[in-house]
């Protein structure tokens, strides 16, 4: 039964991918959707059984690697953390699958697309159900590969190629750290399965090891290296720019990457490894700083962008920062709570944005939209709901989770916690601002598109609106429905020991015990409302204001608009030197040295020897007999001389 939550997407992917030609486009779509939906239903059952009834378990599928004393079974671990992720992944993925039927209507490669989506989902399911680091790595890499294939789905577009390669390479940087982290774990614990490792953590928490000539704490090193993987996968600042460029892929892919199957992997991993991070305050502090900084940086850039998908992409990055610093202040449960609510409203935002793009004949620039709200009312409402949830307006899903994250950061009482809280507050205001900027520019005011486009604006078909409506319901309800389980009074019975929080670190408990003053509790909502009001003022009342600010603070605007010059700096200091080095190795090392020595010199030498050898073959019998006799004489003399 447990397998039915993981393997149907793989099956659907194989059938849709390899047999798409025979079962037709419709068949491929139905098969892949059926696979994911059945996984979603099984996940719901598992959620009830594992999280609510408390039957956490591990299902061993088969022994994967057995080499000497090293054993890595292929086992599926089902605890509360896993089933929550299963719910998020399978439900969002189901919505995306169904939505794609409508969105990709005109694409000739729909079976391939559906197959990739399913395989992507499967890789993520493998990741969240993994029982050991090897399997985690397998899912991790599978997700990376599938993201590459999907971002590059329109492979004839040069920009899509670049974006896919960028995503892959940036993730490889993270993967390097992740793999090293696994090596360190194996070095420290002589095991790679979570059970053994977690049980042994307190014992090795103070062990020192040599790394690159430094004497460092082994556990901290392992955590930081593993976190490096999460930085890339969850688009934390430093290895984040792939997430934005990944918008080159089809919109359903963006929704899948952002809400369910990719970027959440890093947060999940940190939560999964909570028993390790809990014993390494240094690593937790690093996680917090990274998260808070990411949230802030992303929000500032998001304010200045004009591409509807990029704005939402920056909001994802920003929200991932929230989740990450929540993990950093030991509020893993709050982080996962935010991950779940975010999964719903972010998928909603993307699918709605896709609906807008669909309506606008593939236009993505919000400067060329406007006045759409009467034409596509369902999408309009959906985008409102998503934005309200994102901004954390009371009663919507984001309110419950985001407030808890911020309060936990405050309640942690550490310097980094305070840093995270204040950056988080600023970010909340910025988030609300750019969300409403997007809403107002897209739907209100005069239409700025030409009349050809405006004439064609139409509401999306039901097959797209249905998933949107489902997600909208989720974005409204999931917060208050799940609050009590995740971070409220029922949290101990809900989580069991899926995540470990040391007693002194439990910031969520501190929040529940009233460690946060009323002003700090209400500040996020106030700031969000202020953000909305200022957006309204800027884009509805005094429409000249944004332009005025841009001109007045031109350097700052330029700085933000160009993504903090991140890409330019990376190009200048990493990409170009690497290319120069590679070119040198290629031309000089490979071309001149290796090719010159191998293919050119050796081949010529071999051919020369061959010609000479053949010339010995004169055709005369006496030559041949002579060769035999000489050979014999040499052999016999050899033994005479050597005795």
């Amino acid at each position: 039964m447990e397998l039915a939550a993981v393997f149907p997407p793989l099956l659907g992917s194989i059938i849709a991918g390899f047999f798409g030609r025979w079962i037709g486009v419709r068949g491929a779509q139905i098969i892949s959707c059926a696979g994911v939906v059945s996984a979603a239903l099984t996940s719901a059952w598992l959620f009830n059984d594992v999280a609510l009834q408390g039957h956490a378990r591990t299902v061993e599928v088969f022994t994967w690697i057995k080499s000497g004393s090293f054993v890595a079974p292929w086992a599926l671990r089902f605890d509360t953390l896993t089933v929550v992720m299963l719910i998020v992944v399978t439900f969002v993925s189901s919505c995306v699958h169904i939505y794609s039927i409508g969105y990709m209507e005109k694409d000739p490669h729909r079976p391939r697309f559906q197959s990739y989506l399913s395989l992507f989902t499967f890789a993520m399911l493998m990741l969240v159900t993994s029982d050991n680091f090897i399997q985690l790595f397998f899912g991790w890499e599978g997700v990376g590969l599938m993201s590459y294939l999907l971002i590059n789905f329109w492979y004839h577009k040069a920009s899509a190629n670049d974006a896919a390669i960028k995503a892959f390479i940036q993730n490889r940087v993270g993967d390097l750290g992740f793999a090293l982290g696994i090596f360190v774990v194996f070095y420290l614990f002589h095991a790679v399965d979570f059970g053994t490792v977690f049980a042994a953590v307190p014992g090795v928490a103070v062990q020192q090891i040599h790394f690159l000539g430094f004497e460092v704490n082994g556990l901290t090193l392992a955590c930081l290296l593993l976190f490096m993987g999460a930085v890339a996968k969850s688009a934390q600042v430093g290895l984040h720019s792939w997430l934005i460029d990944a918008m080159e892929g089809p919109t359903p892919v963006s929704a899948l990457i952002h809400a369910a199957t990719m970027v959440t992997a890093g947060v999940f991993m940190v939560a999964r490894l909570s028993p390790m991070f809990e014993f390494s305050p240094t690593a937790s502090a690093v996680v917090t700083v990274f998260g808070a900084t990411t949230a802030f940086v992303a929000a500032t850039i998001g304010m200045t962008q004009f591409d509807i998908k990029r704005i939402i992409a920056y909001s994802t990055m920003s929200q991932l920062g929230y989740m990450m610093f929540a993990c950093g202040v030991s509020a893993y449960n709050a982080a996962i709570f935010h991950l779940m609510t975010h999964g719903f409203f972010k998928a909603l935002l993307f699918l709605s944005a896709g609906s807008v793009i669909h309506a606008m004949s593939d236009e993505q620039d919000i400067r060329k939209m406007g006045g759409l709200w009467k034409l596509i009312p369902v999408t309009y409402v959906a985008l409102w709901i998503g934005s309200l949830a994102l901004a954390g307006i009371p009663l919507f899903a984001g309110y419950f989770s985001k407030d808890m994250v911020l309060e936990a950061a405050y309640a942690a009482g550490t310097p980094v916690g305070t840093y995270a809280y204040w950056l988080g507050i600023i970010t909340a205001g910025l988030t609300a601002f750019y969300s409403w900027r997007l809403l107002l520019l897209t739907f209100h005011g005069k239409p700025r598109a030409d009349h050809h486009v405006m004439d064609h604006v139409h509401e999306s078909p039901a097959v797209m609106l249905l998933p949107i409506s489902f997600l909208a319901a989720g974005a409204v309800c999931v917060g208050f429905l799940a609050y009590s389980w995740f971070v409220g009074g029922d949290r101990v019975g809900f989580w069991h020991d899926a995540v470990l929080i040391l007693p002194g670190h439990d910031s969520v408990a501190a929040v529940q015990h009233g460690a946060v003053p009323a002003w700090a509790e209400n500040l996020p909502t106030m700031v969000a409302l202020a953000g909305i009001v200022s957006a309204y003022l800027c884009y509805m009342v005094w429409t000249g204001l944004p332009g005025f600010f841009c001109r007045t603070f031109k350097p700052i605007h330029h700085f933000l608009y160009n993504h903090w010059y991140y890409d330019i700096l990376v190009d200048r200091f990493i990409v170009e030197p690497s290319l120069a080095l590679a070119r040198g190795v290629w031309k000089l090392g490979n071309g001149t040295t290796l090719d010159g020595l191998g293919p050119r010199t050796l081949v010529a030498a071999t051919q020369y020897v061959g010609q000479r050898a053949v010339r010995l073959q004169s055709g005369y019998v006496f030559h041949y007999a002579f060769a035999m006799v000489i050979g014999l004489v040499v052999l016999v003399s050899w033994f005479y001389v050597n005795g």
Binding site: V621, A627, G631
Partner: protein, 482 residues
């Protein structure tokens, strides 16, 4: 009371010899119109003999006063020889019929030569060894000159005969030295004499060197190889196929038996010779073939190279090395028969063509033939997971475990060079334009059967290696036990 000599262990040989005589009579009475029938009966007789060979229990049994031995090693080798000979008779018939060399003597000579090979493999005495070798060779001399109306064939026959006589002389001289220094011709007693002496006398060593030289001629190892390219090219193609397949296996078997059994105590001495010949054979086989344009000449160099790899395993001097050689031989035999089945099919308007340029574009005119040929070429080059890879793999493994690292490295390097000319044929078949004189032959049934059989073996050996591997392992074990 005199013991009645047991001739039962020699049943397959006796059966085959009688079959050859019966077929000869049949041919004489019926004339050349019976060639087809004689060919089929010859193939059948060879296969029946193979069954008789296989029905042996595998225990070590002597006959004819200890001059003749049957053991697991002999059973394995004879089976290979018989299957190879039968396959060549089958594929050669159609070619012979079309090329007006449709004489009934061809299959009969092949059978007679095979009888000689079986005697060689079972030899347990220097006299028996020479008897078998000459029985085999006399038939082969005639076969090489079978198209006595063409210059190339008579030249090939004459060259092979003259040089063969020289090698026989060397062998006999070596045998006489051995007899002179040990006082016996029986292998088992030679072992005993060598074991009793603290250090081998130089006379015995020199005798052994002469014998190795004589046998190396038969397997075409450098520097006793020079006949091979000329004879391969000059002989009619079915005869070349036979040369490349059965006698090679038989001669290697004889060499193995002589070196492991009577001269097992002189391993350190003969290893030096074998190592030397392995290196020069591998190198010459690899570089010599690069310049060739005639497919038969190319395959002659290829077979010199293969002997080099076989000697590589032999140089290890271990049971594992012999096992590797046996696997190599089995695989080599199948690949060679299959390749020659393709070469036999190379005809343009009924006229045989032998230039490798004629392979160009074969994938479009004869896709299936091109596919099996590609399989054989990849396999000869040793590309995994085809059969040829495993052949090479086990001899290299044995060499490495025998600490012959330098030899193994040379082997790998020459494999790389050899891959060039094998892969060139694949490239010609798949990527080049079809020439004007393209191959237009429709294969007859026997060729198709052999091609499919060899192709399937080559491609699927990877999945079902156990019969060959375990057979080779027990055969190698029985050789060392004796």
């Amino acid at each position: 009371m005199a013991e009645i000599p047991s001739i039962l262990p020699a049943t397959p040989e006796i059966f085959l010899a009688c079959s050859a005589l019966a077929l000869l009579l049949l041919g004489v009475f019926k004339g050349d119109c019976a060639t087809r029938l004689v060919s089929h009966l010859a193939a059948a007789a060879l296969l029946v003999a193979a069954i008789l060979v296989l029905s042996h229990s595998g225990a070590r049994v002597f006959a004819f006063n200890g001059m003749f031995v049957v053991d697991g090693f002999g059973v394995f080798m004879k089976t290979l020889v018989l299957i190879g000979a039968a396959a060549v008779v089958m594929v050669g018939q159609g070619y012979a019929a079309q090329q007006r060399m449709n004489r009934f003597e061809l299959p009969v000579l092949i059978v007679l030569s095979t009888v000689g090979m079986m005697m060689m493999i079972s030899a347990n005495d220097l006299m028996a060894l020479y008897m078998g070798l000459e029985t085999q060779s006399l038939a082969l001399y005639v076969l090489a000159a079978f198209r006595r109306d063409t210059q190339t064939s008579t030249e090939a026959g004459l060259k092979y005969f003259v040089l063969g006589a020289l090698s026989s002389g060397l062998l006999l001289f070596g045998a006489s030295l051995i007899y002179g220094f040990t006082g016996t011709t029986n292998f088992d007693r030679i072992v005993a004499v060598l074991a009793s002496a603290p250090k081998a006398e130089i006379g015995i060593v020199v005798g052994m060197v002469f014998m190795i030289a004589g046998l190396a001629f038969k397997v075409a190892a450098v520097p006793f190889h020079m006949w091979a390219p000329d004879v391969y090219e000059g002989s009619p193609t079915p005869v070349t196929a036979f040369f490349a397949a059965a006698p090679k296996v038989a001669a290697v078997a004889l060499l193995l038996r002589v070196l492991i059994d009577p001269f097992g105590g002189l391993t350190d001495q003969w290893r030096q010779i074998i190592t030397f010949m392995a290196v020069v054979s591998m190198v010459l086989g690899a570089v010599g073939a690069i310049q060739q344009t005639n497919i038969k000449r190319l395959l002659a160099y290829g077979s010199i190279g293969h002997v080099g790899y076989i000697f590589l395993g032999l140089a290890a001097g271990s049971e594992q090395g012999v096992r590797g050689i046996l696997i190599y031989l089995a695989v080599y035999l199948v690949m060679t028969v299959g390749t020659f089945a393709v070469v036999l099919s190379m005809r343009h308007q009924g006229r045989p063509v032998e230039n490798i340029a004629h392979f160009a574009g074969l994938s479009r005119t004869h896709p299936m033939m091109a596919l099996v040929m590609a399989l054989f070429m990849f396999s000869m080059a040793g590309i995994p997971p085809l059969a040829g890879f495993f052949g090479k793999f086990y001899v290299f493994l044995a060499a490495i475990e025998g600490h012959l690292y330098g030899l193994a490295v040379i082997g790998v390097l020459t494999s790389v060079i050899a891959a060039f000319y094998y892969l060139r044929i694949v490239k010609l078949m798949y990527f080049d334009e079809t020439p004007v004189e393209s191959i237009d032959q429709q294969n007859d049934g026997a060729v198709t059967v052999v091609l499919v059989g060899c192709g399937v073996f080559t491609a699927l050996f990877f999945f079902f290696p156990v019969p060959i591997m375990s057979g080779a392992a027990s055969a190698a074990a029985s050789l060392f036990a004796g």
